[in-house]
Symmetry: C2
Subunit: 321 residues, 2 copies
């Protein structure tokens, strides 16, 4: 799969040296689930953990990719290298974009200090989570100073990969009523920093105040996120946003919470990926195990209750059947 020019050793060396083609090639191997991909990730793993990672989440259409694009420009201005991994199916990084955004992105594509990668949603979500973690580790190992992980999020942990980032930025817009309600109801996790993007909209200030009043309910002042207004397309508020992200990360580090959080994140990631693999085994059992298939069939005829079928599936997967 690696072709004559790229042995596994060459890819490992290339990734560690920050070679863009080696990085791109390896992430493609990851997406193709090529056996050498896992081995490469294993070999570069001790060189990870140096990048500052920022998870960027929020409902579709709020301008997450434009904001990431603006942040990339700002961070490049500070002479730091940047990686972007996007797993948002509604994102222009992932899906193709309007002309304006394309131009914006292609600026970065020509910059050797920036590596942008969108993760295809061709596999199911489980495989995607695993591929995304691997991509993130590879970009980290390639020596990028900052890595942005962009995912769409409308509440709970649909795409659980966001949990791997050092700090999490939630992007909202003036129309984000549902996300604000979800924060209020306590069913959306409080992030580190919140941005209300499209600050020129007449109701942006109202939304800002609304979010502030919800966040102020948390008695633990340390945990309260900073809340800012931005206009991603014009770059307004972007330096302040970057400052807020850097400050939050530094505070976490000072209090020893960053190391703790990273441990928790990695352990959570191991759990998520193990469950994703077991989900695949469940699907295989439901199709490939004749006894299990027959049981599910009987459930749909109301002859066998679903919980007995669930036990059969679990037994088939765990080898206790």
């Amino acid at each position: 799969m690696t072709g004559p020019a790229w042995t596994e050793d060459a890819l490992v060396a290339g990734v560690l040296a920050g070679d863009r083609r080696a990085l791109a090639r390896t992430i493609s191997l990851v997406e193709d689930r090529a056996p050498e991909a896992e081995s490469i990730v294993r070999r570069v793993y001790p060189s990870t953990g140096r990048a500052a990672s920022v998870g960027v989440t929020g409902p579709p259409g709020v301008g997450k990719s434009s904001l990431v694009s603006a942040l990339v420009r700002h961070v490049r201005g500070l002479e730091r290298t940047v990686g972007v991994v996007s797993v948002d199916p509604s994102s222009p990084f992932t899906r193709g974009a309007l002309l304006g955004d394309r131009i914006r992105l292609s600026d970065h594509f020509l910059d050797p200090g920036v590596y942008i990668r969108s993760m295809g949603t061709r596999g199911h979500l489980g495989g995607l989570a695993e591929a995304t973690l691997q991509a993130l580790l590879l970009v980290d190992a390639s020596g990028k100073d900052v890595v942005f992980l962009e995912t769409v999020g409308t509440g709970q942990s649909e795409v659980e990969v966001i949990g791997i980032a050092d700090v999490v930025l939630l992007v909202l817009m003036p129309g984000s009523g549902d996300a604000v309600q979800a924060l209020k109801a306590g069913i959306m996790e409080i992030p580190d920093v919140i941005v209300v993007n499209k600050m020129d909209h007449p109701s942006a200030q109202t939304k800002l105040q609304e979010v502030r009043s919800i966040v102020a309910l948390d008695p633990d002042r340390k945990r309260r996120p900073r809340i800012l207004l931005t206009d991603a397309l014009r770059g307004e508020g972007v330096p302040e946003l970057w400052e807020a992200l850097v400050t939050r990360r530094a505070e976490l580090e000072e209090r020893g919470e960053l190391a703790e959080r990273r441990q928790r994140n990695l352990s959570g990631e191991v759990e998520t990926l193990a469950v994703a693999r077991l989900r695949e085994r469940v699907r295989e059992a439901m199709v490939g195990d004749a006894a299990v298939g027959a049981a599910v069939e009987r459930v749909t005829r109301r002859e066998l209750d679903p919980l007995t079928a669930v036990s059969l599936v679990v037994d088939s997967v765990t080898g206790t059947g």
Copy 2:
């Protein structure tokens, strides 16, 4: 656990006879994970499938419970019996409510033709999904004509139980910008019927038009949901909403799609619950299996890559380690 007055046989007979106390007692056993609960569900399962089930989903704060309450009143006026199972942590059915809603709910509590049950979120989500399916089957077996399943949903299948319903109603409000964007981006599944609640809000009509234009993009006319305006608190639009739900279900039945959908739902539910059980096993392995615990520990020290740890966890759970 069942106490002297309630043997397992008595509970089975009670549930099948529509006895409210037997039903309540059995669902409590389900929530407590008492061993006899599964046996009772197994025994009543052949009597399920008669109720028309309606999944009610939508972001928090849009008025789902008020709307369910209004629908219950309407359906009772048609002399049909009703069950409500709520798994929305932000719902007054589940969490306690404002005085107005309480009075509204207690009306129904006194009506022997209505059974309302909120599922506690005391367990984790996996256990909750299993308990909710069991509760739904028990209410169905108790002979209720209609069962509403209320869950909070802001996009993808956080609480996957909604997938078990015959028809799905998505409730939005004029401020539901994020949910509308999620529909537009194709990351939220198109339901059978969509309601814009709080119809007196000045932007309700605008939101209705916005949703209509998104839905009209689907070339398959049969799949396009009906979209209505309601005011749950005043009961406006509720008879029309009920009519839309009944009509959609009848159309599905006529085209033979209801049976297909129920088969797919049950099979999907078996998968979901099997994965939920395996997730528990993963958590147990990460805490209880010393080798796995040590591996995860080494991951957080960057000595062992996460994917190797994932393989160890999966091997531990599947007994191949």
